[in-house]
Symmetry: C2
Subunit: 307 residues, 2 copies
Amino acid sequence: MSLLIVGTVAFDELETPFGKSGKIIGGSGTYAALSASNFVDDIRLTSIIGEDFPQEKIELFHEKGIHTTGIDRIAGGKTFFWKGRYHNDMNTRDTLDTQLNVLEHFDPKVPEAYRDAAFLLLGNLTPAVQLSVLNQMNQRPKLVVLDTMNFWMEVALDGLKEVLKQVDVLTINDEEARQLSEEYSLVKAAKKILDMGPRVLIIKKGEHGALLFNREEVFFAPALPLEEVFDPTGAGDTFAGGFIGYLARTQNISFNNMKRAIIFGSALASFCVEKFGTQRIEHLSSKEIEQRVQAFIELSQVEMELA
Amino acid sequence: MSLLIVGTVAFDELETPFGKSGKIIGGSGTYAALSASNFVDDIRLTSIIGEDFPQEKIELFHEKGIHTTGIDRIAGGKTFFWKGRYHNDMNTRDTLDTQLNVLEHFDPKVPEAYRDAAFLLLGNLTPAVQLSVLNQMNQRPKLVVLDTMNFWMEVALDGLKEVLKQVDVLTINDEEARQLSEEYSLVKAAKKILDMGPRVLIIKKGEHGALLFNREEVFFAPALPLEEVFDPTGAGDTFAGGFIGYLARTQNISFNNMKRAIIFGSALASFCVEKFGTQRIEHLSSKEIEQRVQAFIELSQVEMELA
């Protein structure tokens, strides 16, 4: 099944208690597409880069079945760059440098060959760009998943609410769910957010797992307790890419299948944090993924006979 | 199966965003014993109270199969009293008043008829008192569970380490696990803590569920997402009482049965927070408990066929 992903393709430079990454590739589109490429091979990536983006990484995308005609390379331009330092808890970080560069004027033109995609992931970007991509589709995709963050709630809330009306699934973290709904209880927050448009809400809780809500049901997927988180960058995008990639492969968008998709997304995210950047998710075998999914299932498995 | 519980029997006065409780009964021993009474009926409670503790609450204990000959009533003494105010998030609280009263000189004499108990819960108390109770047993109980808190790690760490050497199961929260082990990763923390004595560690994560570790395995039990937490007081003690109560009823202390016991403990704790104090756990039917346990199981249930 065809999957269109819009998101950033960028450079990151990371400092963690374990070391420094140097300048590596990153961005929400990069993580999501590489993650989804473990499930489907017609991935259509839309983004913007500068002249400085390495051609070998474009070739990596091609090897993974990721089309790049929708990646606009700006002659003389520089690629979006983010530099950050993680604290010892690996949950909090400081931004050391942000250079928007070509991203500042990103106004995506979705290639004609992309516009019939059955699945659409609107990766973390300004809501206006997410809406523009959605509006360029030839027909409403079978499933639209939107990822966003607190920053857009602060600077572009109206735009975010506009695009929320048109998506099927929203993925945000617990603090963002509280911010968007102005409710502390996640159950109450979910109700309010589902009233804003999406019929399914995923609340990502990092090391505490993820919750999946629709109007009638709730499902909880645990996170695997890890000995070490080496680099959390991109874990949320990797999760979103794995989630929609699994749904696209299985061509089943029922709530029950979304439960499975969340576990696959969580498994991909658990690989992502094991090394710097995209290193770990670039080279995964289906065997490794299935073993990790099995570990997630066993983690909460209990046999019980009730009267 | 006989279950000996040592813990405080006390007065609490609580203020939450939802209201004020007035002076009600509380204490780790009270919550744990009432919780466990949903599973077994030979519960032997050891504690200390003043002359002001209401006789009707002693009679409530008797109705629930909780023996009180080990509760020392001090003539002319006043019962331990704690007053606290919860913040809007219900996760943090301020202590407004603490009056140790008779608890200051608590040196429990375990009644002869209590000393052959098969199961022992050392509720949250000074480690010296926990050790004294353990040493008064006629023979080593089949299972010893210890609950403690950060306060004892700060003021009585040596005593805590001494008693830890002699228990089977330790229950603490995630921050306490980090404090005790000086490790941020809970997986690493668990390894260090298991080296201190207990063969099983339960890390309580409140709204994020609970982790069960032994040296080989890890199990994760989710928390039920709740619309409203009315009063979190006693949830940890209720969890511990439900956990050991279930093990005592089923007479099975295998790791697999502890998985089930954690779900029963979590279910009891989820009832506890629905009303002020012990109100909700005083009157539960086995039907209500089984339905709640079923909800916990369904929350994480997923059917998946892997290759």
